[in-house]
């Protein structure tokens, strides 16, 4: 793709938040690869030193990499980070592991702060918000429905029992609100299940290890994987390509494996462990019972398993990447077979296990 298709030039300042996270360094790398050489990387003080060092190393080839250390909860830090910036790639977010308030604060309040800071500077050409497939509801959809960008967003995310989903839905809402009310030009990128070296663990869509034994819940479901470098490339294109303001893009790779196939390959290549397959009807019934008991016992069991979550994570669904290919000209550079090979090798090298 020619750079004349892009909304900014190679020397225009670009901000990447969450630059020391899992996807962030690949976004920086992809931007550098495309010739962009004025990058500002926002990192938390708690970022791992090795990741900071890796970002610094990118600057040795003549590109300007400014590391901005701070906290997106601090408006002054946001103002400092976004000064003169033309494109923001906003990858930083709460993981949702701690609590709803924590996930919300680190995804929504931070996004609002960053948007306010961008408004002050009045030079923003695009704000790219990294969201997730977690925002989609699947509750009224038939089995094997095609999930694409036209599918409805979860209307009651607080009922999913998933802090990450709640925070991501609210993050999108505040972004679109700023877009409508204040004219912030934005694009939303919703990756599927991002995998690759440096990110251990088996996606929840495949199964869970909550009860001390791995329960395989995915069965023959397709897992919406996207290899981290492919995902980073899609994010970069979403931030640069002309004529896509206000759009949302789902990002999944081609040749997606089934849950069963992924689990088999994982066991063959990383480590063997016992897993118990739970048929869909059974997992649905268990989620239903858990939901009812959680409600009846006034939260004696937390409402983490429920029908909304089952529909979202374990219902048979197909995934489309037509829009991201057609509108952004994206193609996954790393085929799924190669991506999985690298991922499994990384798991072995790191000595980590799911």
């Amino acid at each position: 793709m020619d750079n004349k298709d892009f909304i900014v030039g190679p020397d225009d300042p670009i901000l990447v938040t969450g630059a020391s996270g899992f996807i962030g360094p690949r976004v920086v790398e992809a931007l550098l690869h495309r010739g962009f050489r004025n990058l500002r990387c926002f990192v938390r003080p708690s970022s791992r030193p090795s990741r900071i060092e890796a970002l610094n190393a990118y600057g040795r080839d003549g590109a300007r990499i400014d590391l901005v250390e701070g906290d997106l909860l601090c408006p002054e830090d946001c103002t400092r980070a976004s000064k003169d910036v033309m494109v923001v790639f906003h990858l930083a977010a709460g993981t949702g592991e701690a609590s709803f308030p924590d996930a919300f604060m680190n995804s929504v309040v931070t996004t609002r702060n960053l948007l306010d800071a961008c408004l002050q500077h009045r030079c923003l050409s695009r704000f790219v918000n990294i969201s997730s497939f977690a925002v989609y509801t699947n509750i009224r959809a038939p089995r094997w429905r095609l999930l694409d960008e036209s599918c409805p967003i979860e209307g009651r995310p607080e009922l999913r029992g998933d802090a990450y989903c709640f925070a991501k839905v609210k993050q999108e809402q505040i972004l679109t609100d700023y877009g409508k009310r204040l004219g912030i030009p934005y694009v939303i990128v919703r990756p599927g299940s991002v995998y690759g070296p440096g990110h251990d663990g088996i996606p929840g869509r495949v199964g869970i290890n909550t009860f001390g034994v791995f329960l395989h819940l995915g069965g023959f479901n397709t897992i919406p994987f996207t290899y981290v470098n492919n995902c980073a490339e899609a994010i970069v294109l979403a931030g640069l390509k002309k004529g896509v303001d206000g759009e949302a893009f789902n990002v999944v790779d081609d040749d997606l494996p089934s849950s069963r196939r992924f689990l088999r390959l994982y066991k063959e290549n990383v480590r063997r462990f016992t897993s118990i397959y739970v048929p869909h009807a059974v997992s649905y019934a268990l989620c239903y019972l858990w939901e009812k008991y959680s409600s009846r016992s006034q939260g004696q069991l937390p409402p983490v398993f429920n029908r909304r979550r089952w529909h979202s994570q374990w219902k048979k669904t197909r995934y489309s990447n037509e829009k991201v290919k057609a509108r952004l000209g994206w193609t996954p550079q790393v085929p799924t077979a190669e991506g999985l090979r690298r991922y499994f090798q990384s798991c072995v090298d790191m000595g980590r296990h799911a």
Partner: protein, 368 residues
């Protein structure tokens, strides 16, 4: 219907709202957070009546009878005082205040205005803690406690908390006089305070930064603490806080002249420690059977409570809130006597004053 408001919409506020909504005869009429988005998300998730972006508006428009203060500790005093001055009863999350002077001031104000105060030492109202209290009150110990041991541990590896706290030089925990300890130890000290009779026990504290934190280049956060508490050569207590010992326990033992009790908060078990001895080798064989029987009894009790759907992780908080509301409605005694609140604050002050000095061990009554 008791009208309740919550100030501060962080993680612990979720627990408060969940437990309040389990109670009959009360409703959450409003919430406030200085960050309006946080107040709004709370309002959406808990279906409370209204949310506010200023405290004055919450108190004047929603007109709550009681306010729960669930903000960081540095703001507890100012918010609680503001609420008391406007005629609200106040439940303050732990630690009650930053120091004893603030605690004393709030207690005086509440007493003067004939309003009620309590602190979020909800561990003292869990099922097992209430069982222990009932046994002590029934005279099981055979007299006043001779000695107590309170272990309150904190696993820094949990939730990546250590990394966040260590890296963030602006983290509010760092600005507390006792830093990490200040935010955590009041639960364990309050257990001891409950059974002390003196208002000014001697406190001898020794604290240090663990090798684990030192390896992470942290030298300001004390995460290992040992305390000896003694009142007039009568009752003594040891308090242990550790981030490193495993298992990471939350236990309390109290010994009287005729028997002792051992409470395990994590397992929700209470073991009666008998005073007598069996003859000869029977002492080796019979007590393990008795202990096994007691553990089985605890198991059955826990299962029964679970089946009765009254085994929520924060069931102690529900009981404490309910008891506090009852004291408001009936104008009865508060569930946690003010003396205990002040004594806990006093012991914390003494500990932090000693840790602030360079000497590892200093007499509590003459801190350098």
């Amino acid at each position: 219907m008791l009208k309740v408001a919550i100030v501060g919409c962080g993680k612990i506020a979720d627990a408060h709202a969940s437990q309040i909504q389990r109670l009959k005869g009360c409703e959450i009429v409003g919430v406030y957070d200085r960050e309006p988005l946080m107040a709004k998300q709370f309002y959406e998730r808990f279906s409370v009546k209204r949310y506010f972006d200023d405290l004055t508006g919450l108190l004047s428009d929603a007109r709550p009878d009681v306010v729960h203060v669930t903000t960081p500790p540095q703001s507890h005093f100012a918010i609680a005082r503001f609420c008391l001055e406007r005629g609200c009863h106040v439940y303050v999350e732990k630690p009650f205040t930053v120091d004893e002077a603030e605690a004393q001031s709030l207690v005086e104000l509440a007493t003067e205005r004939r309003l009620k105060l309590t602190v979020g030492h909800d561990d003292q109202f869990s099922h097992v803690a209430r069982r222990m209290r009932a046994l002590v009150q029934s005279g099981y110990l055979g007299g006043p406690p001779v000695h107590m041991e309170s272990h309150y541990c904190y696993d820094l590896g949990r939730d990546g908390y250590a990394r966040t706290l260590l890296a963030d030089r602006r983290h509010w925990v760092r600005n507390l006089p006792g830093k990490l300890l200040h935010n955590v130890i009041s639960h364990g000290l309050a257990r001891i305070a409950e059974f002390l009779t003196s208002d000014s026990p001697q406190v001898i504290a020794y604290g240090f930064v663990s090798p684990f934190l030192k390896r992470l280049n942290e030298d300001a956060i004390v995460d290992e603490l040992r305390v000896i508490i003694a009142e007039e050569e009568r009752t003594t207590a040891y308090f242990t806080f550790s981030s490193q010992m495993r298992p990471s326990i939350h236990q309390f033992r109290v010994y009287g002249p005729k028997g002792g009790l051992s409470l395990d908060q994590d397992h929700e078990t209470l073991i009666r420690l008998r005073a007598g001895r069996f003859k000869s080798y029977l002492e080796k064989f019979v007590p393990p059977v008795i202990l096994a029987e007691q553990h089985l009894e605890n198991l059955l009790r826990n299962v029964k409570t679970f089946l009765a759907r009254d085994f929520q992780m924060k069931s102690g908080m529900k009981y404490l809130i309910e008891a506090f509301y009852r004291s408001i409605i009936e104008d009865g005694p508060v569930p946690i006597p003010y003396r205990e609140i002040l004594l806990t604050a006093r012991m914390m002050d003494a500990i932090f004053a000693q840790l602030a000095t360079t000497r590892p061990i200093v007499d509590a009554e003459s801190p350098a």
